[in-house]
């Protein structure tokens, strides 16, 4: 029998011993997603503001109004609020709360819970709280401004805001309705249960949180009593697999259903593979260029105009960004109310040169900081080359993301190349940061405003138009106002929107109705099905 123990036979035998464990498809009722989820530092909806955390909250909590994952274009839809009514003077909105909905704990969802959740987020004053406080709520007055009775809840606003503005903001994760009884039972001191909610969940959404291991995995279990109907996927597992090549392998082998961080190369590689499909979705992130108005050269209107002709929009999107971005030249991403699709600028160094010569500019030198990420450096170098054609030298200093951000917030980056993602589903989210800057002094420290970071003193009329658009009751008129605003902005502003992000998701063939949230919201799992 000696011949049986040849090295070849041993190899074969050990392969067979292991092989049967490899690698059936994922179970039919389980959705397995690979993603980079290492940005989650809290699961409390009053604090969570990063992508992966929002994905979790979107599926575990319900809000007064929400998007329909099968029809995002329809905008906000009734959810825990079955209807609402705006007062004649536009100063208050009353929501009627749906009957018979329960939290995961079994407690009924009451108007009191909804009111308390919003009050709580305002009082905790974490970063996303501004989405609510922009309606005039403060920790001191919020108890009087948000009132409730048995079946309804009323928001008392400080201005007659556009109802679409208020309702769009209520789709944000910070407006999630939490289970007051359960949370207060776990509160420590006066933290409103913040410490507990960092790692636990108290919602009424389609999924319950089965577990979160930081940097490792999030597990969700279907909530059978979900008022919108129990989800078909009984378990959702989101694994932290940041490496694109690893995601690709797992997807090809059928060990995962969804790969969310594929690089352009891997998207291309996986496209021809058996059993795999690619789904492109335009997301809300914009890549833009900010020209710091403290810089003498960059504050010259001719220079601002010329720069818009020095960006090789098509070339950069195709060659350098490899389809992860598409050209887009207005500050509202496609998918937003009133988003402007016009692209008046194209790569034209001759024209740029003419504009500069007419203004008496024939040379110049600028030194700027660029984040040491491949795509930003690539874009900066492309710009460097086209600026050289009009006689202007661009020096690039590479820095880490944190360093560039520090400098940017201190108004010290001459030409900033970076991305901006909207904070909530209303056009005001970008209008209020790109086209609004009431106090351009250094002392104002308005670090949250992109206009301020670039020392752009937004013209008073434009600032007023931005505010006026938040007050227009007629939604169609409101959309027109944003279109006008973007046209003016496009023509004169020193912040230059260039590209909108396209996310390519790798899916197994049988996964239907996947939705990453497009430009306006986060990933949604409860509509996902798996066919044969």
């Amino acid at each position: 029998m000696r011949h049986l123990l040849t090295p070849r036979a041993i190899l074969l035998a050990s392969a067979l011993a292991i092989a049967p464990a490899a690698y059936a498809e994922t179970p039919a009722d389980t959705l397995v997603v690979a993603h980079a989820i290492d940005d989650i530092i809290s699961l409390d909806p009053a604090q969570t503001f990063e992508f992966a955390g929002n994905d979790v909250n979107n599926n575990t909590y319900s809000r007064l109004v929400e998007f329909d994952p099968m029809d995002l274009d329809a905008g906000f839809q009734p959810s825990l609020a079955e209807s609402w009514e705006v007062s004649d003077d536009g100063m208050s909105i009353t929501f009627r709360i749906r009957d018979g909905v329960t939290f995961h704990s079994g407690n009924p969802v009451r108007a009191e819970d909804a009111a308390w959740s919003l009050q709580r987020a305002v009082k905790l004053d974490q970063t996303p709280s501004f989405i609510l406080t922009q309606f005039g709520f403060t920790p001191e007055n919020v108890d009087e401004k948000i009132t409730f009775d048995d079946s309804s809840l009323t928001l008392h606003l400080d201005q007659p805001y556009a109802p679409s503005f208020v309702l769009n903001c209520l789709t944000a994760k910070v407006a999630s309705v939490v289970d007051k009884e359960l949370v207060m039972a776990n509160a420590e001191g006066d933290d409103y249960g913040h410490a507990w909610l960092n790692t636990n969940e108290a919602g009424s959404g389609p999924y319950t949180l089965a577990g979160w291991r930081p940097n490792e995995a999030v597990q969700l279990t279907a909530y059978e009593d979900y008022f919108g109907g129990a989800p078909e996927m009984k378990r959702v597992i989101v694994r932290n697999i940041p490496e694109s090549s690893a995601q690709r392998l797992l997807l090809e082998q059928g060990d995962i259903d969804v790969a969310r961080s594929l690089s352009p190369t891997d998207v291309e590689g996986v496209s021809g593979a058996d059993g795999v499909k690619i789904q492109d979705e335009p997301r809300g992130r914009m890549m833009y260029m900010g020209l710091n108005q403290k810089n003498e050269l960059l504050s010259n209107p001719a220079m601002i105009e010329a720069m818009k002709y020095l960006v090789n929009y098509e070339g950069i999107a195709g060659t350098l960004l490899k389809g992860t971005f598409v050209p887009h030249q207005s500050f509202l991403p496609k998918g937003y109310l009133g988003a402007l699709d016009d692209m008046p600028y194209s790569y034209d160094p001759e024209k740029a040169k003419q504009i500069l010569t007419d203004a008496g500019i024939t040379s110049g030198e600028i030194t700027t900081n660029v984040r040491d990420l491949r795509e930003y450096v690539d874009v900066a170098q492309a710009l460097q080359a086209s600026m050289a054609e009009v006689g202007i030298t661009l020096n690039i200093q590479q820095m880490t993301g944190a360093q560039v951000l520090d400098a940017y917030r201190a108004r010290e980056v001459p030409i900033f190349i970076g991305e901006w993602g909207p904070d909530y589903a209303d056009p005001n989210t970008n209008a209020a940061t790109f086209a609004y800057n009431p106090d351009n002094s250094d002392e104002a420290k308005a670090t949250g405003l992109l206009a301020w970071r670039n020392a752009y003193a937004v013209p008073e009329a434009m600032g007023q138009a931005t505010v006026a658009a938040t007050l227009e009751q007629d939604t169609a008129k409101r959309a027109d106002m944003y279109v006008e605003l973007q046209k003016q902005y496009q023509a004169e502003a020193p912040l230059i929107p260039m590209f909108q992000r396209i996310e390519a998701t790798g899916l197994r063939d049988n996964v239907e109705n996947w939705n990453s949230g497009r430009a306006v919201t986060s990933a949604m799992y409860w509509q996902v099905t798996k066919g044969e």
Partner: protein, 330 residues
């Protein structure tokens, strides 16, 4: 013995101090990681104070030290969890991987080194040399990716990235945090086989690197012994070569070999960062790297202490083993 422990304590303190200073001068703003880019100045300032960053450096360090001495390693800003809990979760994953890696390194590397020395210049020696050369010079991420592509992607012999297949995730009760051991304790053979199929590739990769080192060291120790007089005497007495090598020479290299193995184990504990990243292995290396990039000093310092204590303990253990193996040294 008391002196040894004191000097080890001082070593640890020095390690902490240096790490602390590097962390504080690093151009990363940990506050932004916590409050995010969109925070107002007031929210930023509040977090800055809450994190104690408004205090002078030496006060921050003294505070940190006194917290550590009372067992409080603080909260990580990149996971939002207590550092102690984080480390309890990620460290067993690394220990499991490093142990299996070292085991493979020893089981293959030691015999290879011995035989290479005994058959000096023969084909086994040549093979050992090439194996070691590749081990030293090939980038680990490349080998890792190739391994995944071939053994997982094409052949399907082993499990993919991660510690477990998805259906086994969280199914085995957590006792030691080492899934191989936990699944044995639970007598869950399917889970064991699954975990084994996931660990075998990264462990072999680490094992390969440590065997490259171990076999070279074994070979040179062996050569030294084989040219010694007592070996010649033994041969002259007509002892069979096998006995000469394994009974006499090998026994004498066992002692320095223990140190080599301990060192190699220690470096796998702290140095498997790339392997952990390629294989999505949620271990200590990955944890510290991420923390460092986020300016998350509580996590970095906590991880540093664990690595420091490991090295110190490994040193102590190999010291003790010396005494057991070689009574003369006491």
């Amino acid at each position: 013995m008391g002196g040894t422990i004191l000097s080890l304590a001082l070593t640890l303190l020095g390690l902490l101090l240096v790490t602390f200073i590097i962390g504080r001068v690093m151009p990363v703003d940990p506050v932004l990681k916590v409050v995010g880019d969109r925070a107002t100045q007031a929210q930023y300032d509040a977090a800055y104070q809450a994190m104690g960053l408004d205090q002078p450096l030496y006060i921050q360090f003294v505070r940190y030290l006194s917290d550590v001495l009372s067992g409080d390693f603080g909260r990580s800003i990149s996971t939002g969890q207590l550092v102690v809990d984080d480390i309890r979760r990620v460290f067993p994953a690394t220990v499991e991987l490093a142990t299996l890696g070292t085991l493979i390194g020893v089981l293959v590397g030691v015999p290879l080194g011995v035989i290479a020395a005994a058959r000096r210049g023969g084909w086994i020696d040549q093979v050992a040399r090439v194996v070691a050369l590749i081990g030293y010079s090939m980038p680990i991420f490349w080998l890792g990716l190739m391994g995944l592509l071939i053994f997982y992607g094409i052949l399907g012999w082993v499990g993919g990235p991660g510690r477990q297949g998805i259906i086994y995730d969280g199914m085995v009760p957590d006792v030691t945090g080492m899934i191989l051991i936990d699944s044995l304790l639970a007598r869950d053979w399917a889970a064991f086989r699954d975990a084994f199929s996931h660990i075998i590739l990264p462990a072999s990769l680490l094992g390969y690197y440590s065997l490259a080192y171990i076999s070279r060291m074994t070979r040179s120790f062996m050569l030294e012994q084989l040219s010694a007089e007592y070996i010649t005497t033994a041969r002259v007495k007509g002892l069979p070569e096998r006995k000469v090598i394994w009974r006499h020479a090998f026994r004498n290299i066992a002692i320095p070999l223990v140190t080599v193995i301990a060192l190699s184990f220690g470096s796998l504990l702290e140095g498997s960062v790339l392997t952990e990243i390629i294989f999505s292995w949620p271990g200590l290396g990955q944890y510290i790297t991420k923390a460092l990039l986020a300016g998350d000093m509580n996590a970095v310092l906590g991880g540093t202490i664990v690595i420091g204590v490991c090295f110190v303990t490994l040193n102590l253990l190999s010291d003790l083993l010396y005494r057991v193996l070689d009574p003369r040294s006491t």
